[in-house]
């Protein structure tokens, strides 16, 4: 049984009086201990999906439909106070910018201890001792001194570690990481990714990794969901996705990234246009205006997400043919 089962999740914003569908029927599952990637460019709805799962979208002006089943409980239908009990205890979350997700006027130790006091009913002193252990576990040097310090006194990498410590304080069964390394330098990114990988492997926590960086996903995630314009367009196990992407968008994206281990030169593959090239027709594939393989059927009708024989899924009428290995 999956730990998290997202079914047909949709989020509609009111934008200047007009409805705008940011997430359009996204479904995916996360098994216990599994690392699942949500990949896409800005505006594809990957962050909004995670916020909707956590119930962190403002209620006014947004319509969230579908089901988010965690342990067979629909998170979308929980009362706010019941949801608060689960957030931080069962599900932890790490955001992109650690400086804006930490409280600048509260010492770090209290921010970690707060979670333990709230969810595990620990007393302040006990919670602080536990907080010290947590900071040590995520690799923050000199944790005793750090407890009394404020977020601005820490470097970006340290802040992100602190945030991971807070998210993992109650040993959640699911951790949602929204672009956790985008604001960091590569060497620090490598530290944080290694840390996440170890934590997931050791504690059996499931992970949803939201990122635009295909390289990050390649090393970390078991299953990868590729999003475009609020829809899942392709899902596959990572080795399959990177070896033989079927959707023209995934395929193009993989070819347009310069690789460190490739030689210099040549032109990169280009995907023409930009995400803002919206479809001028109501149905059909949102990627059609930018797609090299567009055919009439892409424009006329809504393309369903069909399961592929290797356990993945694909939303395309004219997919990239599978290369036959020589």
């Amino acid at each position: 049984m999956p730990l998290l089962d997202v079914r047909d999740l949709s989020v509609v914003f009111q934008q200047g009086g007009k409805p705008f569908t940011a997430v359009d029927g996204v479904s995916f599952t996360v098994e216990p201990g599994q690392a699942v990637g949500l990949v896409g460019e800005s505006g594809c709805g990957k962050s909004v999906t995670s916020l909707a799962i956590m119930g962190l979208l403002p209620r006014r002006g947004n319509k969230v439909t579908g089901e988010v089943l965690f342990d067979d409980t629909d998170l979308l239908r929980l009362r706010p106070q019941d949801l608060r009990d689960r957030r931080g205890r069962d599900i932890g979350m790490i955001f992109q910018d650690p400086l804006s997700s930490l409280n600048p006027v509260i010492p770090l130790g209290l921010q970690v201890a707060e979670v333990l006091e709230r969810h595990q009913g620990k007393k302040r002193q006990e919670a602080l001792r536990e907080a010290r252990k947590l900071l040590d576990a995520v690799g923050i040097p000199d944790p005793t001194r750090r407890l009394k310090e404020f977020p601005h006194q820490l470097s970006g990498g340290m802040r992100q570690r602190a945030l991971i410590a807070i998210a993992l304080a109650c040993k959640p069964r699911l951790l949602i990481a929204d672009e956790p390394t985008t604001a960091l330098d590569v060497t620090i990114q490598a530290q944080i990714l290694t840390l996440l990988k170890e934590l997931v492997d050791e504690s059996g926590t499931a992970l949803i990794m939201i990122t635009h960086d295909l390289g990050v996903v390649a090393g970390l995630c078991d299953t990868v969901n590729v999003l475009y314009a609020g829809k899942v367009v392709e899902r596959a196990a990572r080795h399959e996705l990177f070896a033989a992407a079927r959707h023209p968008y995934t395929h193009g994206l993989l070819q347009s990234v310069p690789r460190l281990d490739a030689g210099r030169g040549g032109r990169l593959h280009q995907i023409r246009g930009s995400v803002n090239d919206n479809i001028p027709w109501p149905d059909g594939c949102a990627f059609a205006p930018r797609c090299d393989r567009v055919i009439d059927a892409c424009i006329g009708e809504t393309v369903p997400l069909e399961p592929t024989f290797r356990g993945g899924a694909l939303r395309c009428t004219n997919p990239v043919p599978q290369e036959v290995p020589a």
Partner: protein, 368 residues
């Protein structure tokens, strides 16, 4: 013919740290760029990589004298740039232009594209002949792949990739020889990055431009650069031909940096060896003694704390490296050791030197 376009000799840019209400007392210096020497050949792309705070952007700005260098020499096509004064310097900048990272904040939202482009032409007195100016604007827009109708529109009407094209057009319209591109693609989405990277390549081919590309993304830099310089804490630690640097990185920092870049291929990712660096970049206001990298270096020795390694030519390939033990590390005679992450704060003593034993290669003992 002399094919060197730009030559930097021991360039330093230091920023004062000020304190006090009434008098601006200088209480210290940030050594943003601390003695960099490099040459950029005409028509090549020189890629400058490093993490945030390593001084790569300051170096680019110092080269154009957008920030005034503290000392050192900048030679551009035989002219000593730092000797130029006021009006001379302003006129000279026509030959060296800059493309910035974030097109949204580097383009004035209230200026139409035409006004943005004409501004530079006016500053250099190239706007007198109206017909010629129109042709120039159109051909520039055409070169960066924007329609002529873009002239009457404003930056917010364009997407991120198109805005970066406007930024490039603004640099190009004056017909420069050198373009300093500071993180030209890092604010863009992956699919758009490729478009801009290709555009930069096409423009170089057709116009014979020389680029100094400053970026933190090693994969992008490797794709477009002929020569790559790696900076750490204000100094160049290694410089080599792009392929050479990737095939045989000599400096421990370069090795760590290369091993940290994720590659979008699970088979490669599963097998890669990673050199994880401990801790963070030390403060450039209080750099470690000796080798700047020694506090995070898994190969550091006592000598590294005492003596700052010079950037020296390693071998015939022209690869330059600033490491005392580059040969030993390359031959595997020096074993990496544990480095405990240290908290580096301004004002406190830098971490003490850590010593690893030098492994003696012995020939008298048979291999087990």
């Amino acid at each position: 013919m002399n094919d060197t376009l730009v030559e930097l000799d021991d360039l330093k840019v230091h920023f004062p740290i000020k304190s006090g209400l009434l008098f601006d007392r200088t209480i210290g210096w940030v050594y943003a760029v601390d003695g960099v020497s490099l040459t950029i050949r005409r028509g090549e792309t020189y890629g400058l990589v490093g993490e945030s705070g390593c001084g790569k952007s300051t170096l680019g700005r110092g080269l154009l004298r957008l920030v005034e260098p503290t000392s050192g020499r900048i030679t551009f096509d035989g002219t000593d740039v730092r000797a130029l004064e006021g009006e001379q310097m302003r006129r000279f900048r026509r030959r060296m232009q800059m493309v910035f990272q974030d097109p949204m904040s580097s383009l004035d939202p209230r200026q139409s594209v035409e006004s943005l482009l004409v501004e530079g032409l006016k500053a250099h007195g190239l706007h007198k002949d109206k017909a010629a100016m129109r042709t120039r604007l159109r051909s520039t827009l055409d070169a960066v792949g924007l329609p002529a109708s873009a002239l009457n529109r404003y930056p917010h009407e364009f997407s991120g990739g198109q805005r970066q094209r406007i930024g490039i057009a603004r640099a190009l319209v004056l017909g420069p020889e050198l373009i300093v591109a500071d993180e030209p693609v890092s604010a863009l989405d992956v699919s758009i990055q490729a478009q801009v990277v290709n555009l930069l390549g096409d423009l170089q081919d057709s116009l014979g431009l020389t680029y100094l590309v400053i970026a933190h993304d090693l994969a992008v830099v490797r794709h477009i650069s002929d020569t790559i310089g790696v900076m750490y804490l204000g100094a160049l630690v290694e410089e080599a031909q792009a392929d050479q640097l990737y095939e045989r990185p000599l400096h421990p920092y370069t090795r760590a940096l290369l091993s940290a870049v994720p590659i979008p291929d699970p088979y490669v990712e599963d097998q890669r060896e990673r050199i994880l660096l401990a801790g963070d970049l030390p403060s450039p206001a209080n750099p470690p003694t000796g080798c700047r990298f020694r506090t995070r270096c898994p190969w550091s020795q006592e000598r590294c704390a005492e003596q700052r390694p010079e950037l020296r030519v390693f071998d015939d390939s022209g690869q330059r490296v600033a490491c005392h033990f580059a040969e030993e590390i390359l031959r595997g005679e020096l074993r990496p050791h544990e480095v405990r992450a240290e908290i580096v704060r301004p004002g406190s003593e830098a971490a003490p030197g850590v010593g690893a034993e030098l492994i003696q290669t012995r020939t008298d003992v048979p291999a087990p």
